[in-house]
């Protein structure tokens, strides 16, 4: 699907343009923009895009939801839209209806494990959970004696150690101390923590790619305005080549993320090919975030280093999103192991199968 066919994403873009303007948000001291923005998103049914109608959601397709995430990345959105979408998707795997409020998911780090105790309560610690502080509910993937379960838990029944990511968005430690879920159901066969991490990785990849698109756009625009040595800086070849490199990194991120999203949207199972797509997207987007953000800042000079300029809204989020749902080093190791285990002569067939 192309984005122009995606009415859901168009709706999201309209709301972001009206209520999440980077300049306005950047100037706001009190976060007053958050309420109306979330209200509009909820009215449009966007947070529960991936929840089927029989689970109280709006039943959009995966592809439509991915389009929303790209748009959210392009506006460096700082409300838990992606997180609520992921939580709704996770709950829907076990046919658990979603509440209509802000949610997040745990674990958000592949190394964390939440245990399902024999009495049906949850124990464990999930680090780096985005937007846990301030969310009302959390969707949890837990490991029990009988396999994997999915649970809906009220944030109020967990302990939150608040933290912040690079962009000052909440990134918290959530501690489950015999927390009692509101609903608990077994995960469907074949669904495991890796599947959740891959979905989270693709989510963050799309957001990073979107943020890079915006960084490219505002950097190109700035270079055509800023004058030095009596010329627009866009006329200096060194600046042109830096921007060409930024376009290259943006393209790589876009291609990797949209390919992975398309793969998930059309997949029957979380197999090796899907693993390649999602892991590669997270790795490549993280690399692009580093290189791309550096160039965007270089082109802007000192003004881009200020609180007042909007560039950091995109650059710091792109860099921060690298940490969620598996650092690129984690995915590098896991993808490398998979490739090595399949053997040298199976590498090309795997790559060519995509």
């Amino acid at each position: 699907m192309t984005e122009s066919e995606n009415i859901v994403a168009e709706t999201a873009e309209r709301i972001f343009a009206d209520l999440a303007d980077a300049q306005t948000i950047n100037g706001s001291k009190d976060g007053a923009w958050k309420g109306p923005l979330w209200h509009a998103l909820a009215e449009a049914g966007l947070p529960l895009s991936w929840v089927p109608e029989d689970c109280d959601g709006s039943g959009a397709s995966l592809a439509e939801g991915f389009g929303v995430l790209s748009a959210a990345g392009r506006s460096a959105l700082a409300v838990p839209l992606a997180e609520t979408m992921l939580a709704g998707w996770l709950l829907a795997q076990a046919k658990i209806a979603s509440p209509s409020d802000t949610m997040t998911v745990a674990p958000a780090n592949p190394k964390d494990r939440i245990a399902l105790n024999a009495d049906g309560t949850l124990s464990g610690r999930a680090r780096g959970v985005p937007f846990a502080k301030g969310a009302r509910f959390i969707a949890v993937l837990a490991h029990g004696a009988d396999g994997i379960a999915i649970a809906l838990v009220a944030i109020a029944s967990c302990r939150i150690d608040p933290g912040l990511n690079l962009a000052d968005d909440p990134s918290d430690t959530v501690i489950f101390n015999n927390a009692k879920p509101l609903v608990l159901k077994p995960a469907p066969a074949g669904f495991d923590q890796t599947a959740l991490m891959l979905m989270g990785a693709v989510t963050r990849s799309l957001q990073i790619a979107g943020a890079l698109e915006s960084m490219l756009e505002i950097s190109v625009r700035y270079s055509n305005e800023r004058v030095a040595f009596e010329k627009k800086i866009s006329k200096f070849q060194a600046v042109q080549h830096n921007l060409a490199k930024l376009a290259g990194e943006t393209s790589a991120a876009l291609a990797a993320a949209s390919s992975a999203a398309d793969a998930i949207a059309n997949a029957e199972a979380f197999d090796d090919a899907l693993f390649l797509e999602a892991a590669a997207a997270k790795i490549r987007c993280a690399e692009a975030a580093e290189k791309g953000a550096a160039i965007a800042h270089q082109v802007h000079g000192a003004i881009g280093f200020t609180q007042e300029h909007i560039l950091h809204r995109y650059s710091l989020r792109a860099l921060a999103w690298r940490d969620d749902f598996g650092h690129e080093s984690h995915w590098g190791v896991e993808l490398g192991k998979l490739v090595a285990a399949r053997g040298a002569d199976e590498l090309w067939p795997l790559v060519a199968s995509r």
Partner: protein, 386 residues
């Protein structure tokens, strides 16, 4: 606002997978028969006329061209699959590669009918080899500085001057070249160059091989002394070669050969680390595979957009820019990782040999077919910076 970059997640259609299996089976047979060794990209004998004919017999040359010229009217995506499988197998494609990718499409567009009927079917049969005569001793990136002259004479033109770095000129049957037919003008320094088809057997052509730093002889100096080229061998508009850089360039820039040229060292590294790599080896391989997969998805995306009739010119240049840089860095990254591999690994000698060759090959990858700097200039123009 900058025109948005676009990389649609295009998938190869099912007929491509059938074709891929056919190509793999064909190449496996060729390898078994001793035509080439897939582990030895560094071979001298990459002109393989018999192999070339057999590829033609399978219908894998001129795949997208009209049937009346010997073509097969298949899609660009099918051609893509054949190209990538040949490249990954290190098949000896030298004889037909340029003709199939570049020269044939130029002839299709600009040659008179009788020449098309004569030459295109022979390209499709894998019989003829083409070379490209653009660069001259004093004209590389700046194509429009070309001086080699085509002077009007009875029934044709006389060529005098020289071309350089001409890949495969020593085995080529034809060259498609640009020559100066008029001086450039004040208003347009690109004016005055014309594209020609040159029969390499014409009297007055001398081909002098130039050794490359790899030790191979792949390119040449080609000297023209009063070489006669008939009128009907002029391709396109006189003095207007600059207008003829068309969407073919996008194919030329974004194909699988733009990131797979050193791929073999990655396969060999995976073989050397074995099934249970430590985390450094695993991470290194994982990151390289992530890059490879991304490059390929970008390249397929451009091929698919071209097939759908769009002209993703900037996207194609981006694929070549980051693809060539990737394939240039790849042997160095593999070398770093190989340092941790047990030197008793059974393929260690192969890996070392391949690395040495790939590292020696690497510098050319960001020069041939337009340098990185030239490409970035094109991308910058597409971004609205110049």
């Amino acid at each position: 606002m900058t025109a948005a970059l676009r990389f649609d997640p295009i998938r190869l259609p099912p007929e491509c997978e059938v074709l891929r299996q056919e190509v793999r089976a064909f190449l496996a047979d060729e390898i078994a028969a001793g035509t080439f060794d897939p582990h030895k990209p560094q071979r001298e004998d990459s002109d393989a006329p018999e192999f070339s004919r057999r590829v033609g017999e399978r219908g894998w040359l001129g795949m997208t061209w009209p049937k009346k010229y010997g073509g097969h009217e298949r899609s660009f995506l099918e051609r893509y699959v054949v190209t990538e499988e040949m490249r990954v197998a290190n098949a000896p494609t030298r004889r037909f590669f340029v003709a199939d990718r570049q020269s044939g499409p130029v002839l299709l567009k600009y040659a008179p009918e009788h020449i098309k009927m004569d030459i295109l079917p022979r390209i499709c049969r894998g019989e003829v080899c083409f070379s490209i005569g653009m660069s001259e001793p004093n004209s590389g990136s700046d194509l429009f500085a070309a001086k080699t002259k085509a002077t009007k004479t009875d029934g044709g033109f006389l060529i005098n001057g020289s071309k350089i770095w001409t890949t495969s000129a020593h085995i080529a049957d034809y060259m498609i070249a640009i020559f100066r037919t008029s001086p450039s003008t004040k208003e347009n320094r690109r004016h005055g160059l014309t594209q020609f088809l040159v029969d390499m057997k014409s009297p007055g052509i001398k081909v002098n091989p130039i050794a490359q730093m790899t030790g191979l002889y792949e390119f040449n100096e080609v000297v023209f002394e009063d070489v006669f080229v008939p009128d009907d061998h002029m391709l396109g508009e006189i003095d207007g070669a600059w207008k003829q850089a068309t969407s073919e360039l996008a194919y030329e820039r974004s194909g699988p050969e733009r990131f797979l040229e050193t791929y073999y060292v990655l396969t060999e590294l995976v073989r050397a680390v074995g099934p249970n790599p430590d985390s450094r080896g695993a991470e290194g391989i994982g990151r390289l595979v992530a890059q490879l997969h991304t490059m390929r998805r970008m390249s397929v995306s451009v091929a698919g957009m071209l097939q759908a009739g769009r002209e993703p010119v900037v996207e194609a240049s981006i694929v070549k820019d980051i693809g060539t840089i990737w394939e240039q860095q790849l042997p160095h990254r593999v070398r770093e990782l190989a340092a941790f591999v047990d030197s008793d690994a059974s393929n260690h000698a192969t890996l070392d040999e391949q690395l040495a060759f790939a590292i020696k090959t690497a510098p050319k990858l960001t020069i041939q077919g337009g340098t990185t700097e030239v490409l970035r200039g094109i991308i910058a123009r597409g971004l609205g910076l110049r």
